[in-house]
Amino acid sequence: MSEPTEPTAAALFTYALRLGDDALVLSQRLSEWASRAPEIEEDIALTNIALDLLGQARALLDYAAVVEGGTRDEDDLAYLRTEREFRNVHLVEQENGDFAHTIARQLFFSTYQLFLYEELISSTDELLAGVAAKAVKEAAYHHDHAALWTVRLGDGTDDSRRRMQAAVDRLWPFTAELFDADDVETGLAAQGIAVDPANLRARWERSVSDTFATATLVIPPTVWTSHGGRRGVHTECFGYLLAEMQYLHRLHPGASW
């Protein structure tokens, strides 16, 4: 790999940050389920998924730090950035809600991440391709988990169908942002480094519709869509998540054991 030119390095930093922040923030949300899931197997499943995502986040944030020039490390990026400096989509920061909300969020995100990583395997950037080759296997299990539960709850009792549909309706407006692309993605995609997420949309919609058909769920009409996470504009709940995630590190800077 040749040395990235200046503009490419800045774009690559932002791109690694965007992918890494998605994984980090969803990992933090899922870990909130530890000891609170409906059954022990689910407790283990959700925290296993959180662990996979945390591993992906660490690799991506570490890479972002290297690309930036090494003045910060993965911990600085995770624990010492403010809300407006995070580049994750709004979907991953949304609160867990009931189990159906968590499953809907998982289905939407894992389907996107699976298709994204499948493409990113062919990135000309060795590190991104390496992360993707490993993480695609994890995303496949995450997707299976979410799809199975979506069907179980959607095509389940009257109560579970009502709650699953309510979760889908609530989170649907946050799905459009997954496919937002600006100069960072399109520029890097032209060089074979990044995946243009807009190209994933048709496949994503087909996959989610298929799962919904089996689950007897309906795609809600699109009334509004949420955007801005990639620029650092977040929804209200995100600040509270960061406060919980960062307070220990900020209270005891550099502590280790």
Partner: protein, 174 residues
């Protein structure tokens, strides 16, 4: 490379491969296929390449320091450990010996080939969705039930035997 240098590399390889996995201590990291390369440079520094299993496997850091410790104890003072993400680790790399040890310990090793068949051109093939019946490691019954695809470690799934009623773990294809 001189004969003694080649012998030293072999010895370094053997020492690092013999390190037990911290989460599944019945197998070594050599059995799991985590040690990818061993070399010794002109200054006598051992260079080891390890590959993590799952992205978030918490054992990775422990394995790293265990390998350094084992090599120091064996007389290799300078050790450099590098973590390589690519090519991605797969359960296909678990050795036959490793599979046997896992079985004897009551953990069903993965059968068939890896979860993802790598294809050229980026369109990575998906997992084969045909699931074979998992054989109970205690009573041998095929009448078993998948309880959860996520288990006590990132690489395992939980099953229950409907014949002897015992729960058991299996390494899932990855």
């Amino acid at each position: 490379m001189t004969v003694s240098a080649a012998t030293a590399v072999e010895r370094a390889w053997a020492v690092s491969s013999a390190v037990a996995d911290p989460e599944l201590p019945v197998v070594t990291i050599g059995d799991l296929g985590i040690v990818r390369a061993v070399d010794i440079d002109a200054q006598g520094c051992v260079h080891i390449v390890l590959t993590p299993t799952y992205s978030g496997c918490p054992a990775t850091a422990v394995i790293r320091s265990d390998v350094v410790g084992a090599l120091r104890e064996a007389g290799f003072d300078q050790v450099e450990v590098r973590t390589a993400l690519a090519p991605a680790w797969t359960t296909d790399w678990i050795t036959d010996d490793g599979r046997r040890k896992l079985s004897e310990h009551g953990i069903v090793p993965p059968s068939g080939v890896s979860a993802i068949v790598s294809a050229s051109g980026g369109s990575a093939a998906r997992r084969v969705d045909v699931a074979l019946a998992m054989r109970c490691p205690r009573c041998g019954s095929l009448d078993t039930l998948l309880v959860s695809r996520f288990g006590s470690t990132a690489c395992q799934a939980m099953y229950r035997c409907k014949s002897c009623l015992e729960p058991f773990d299996a390494i899932k294809p990855y």
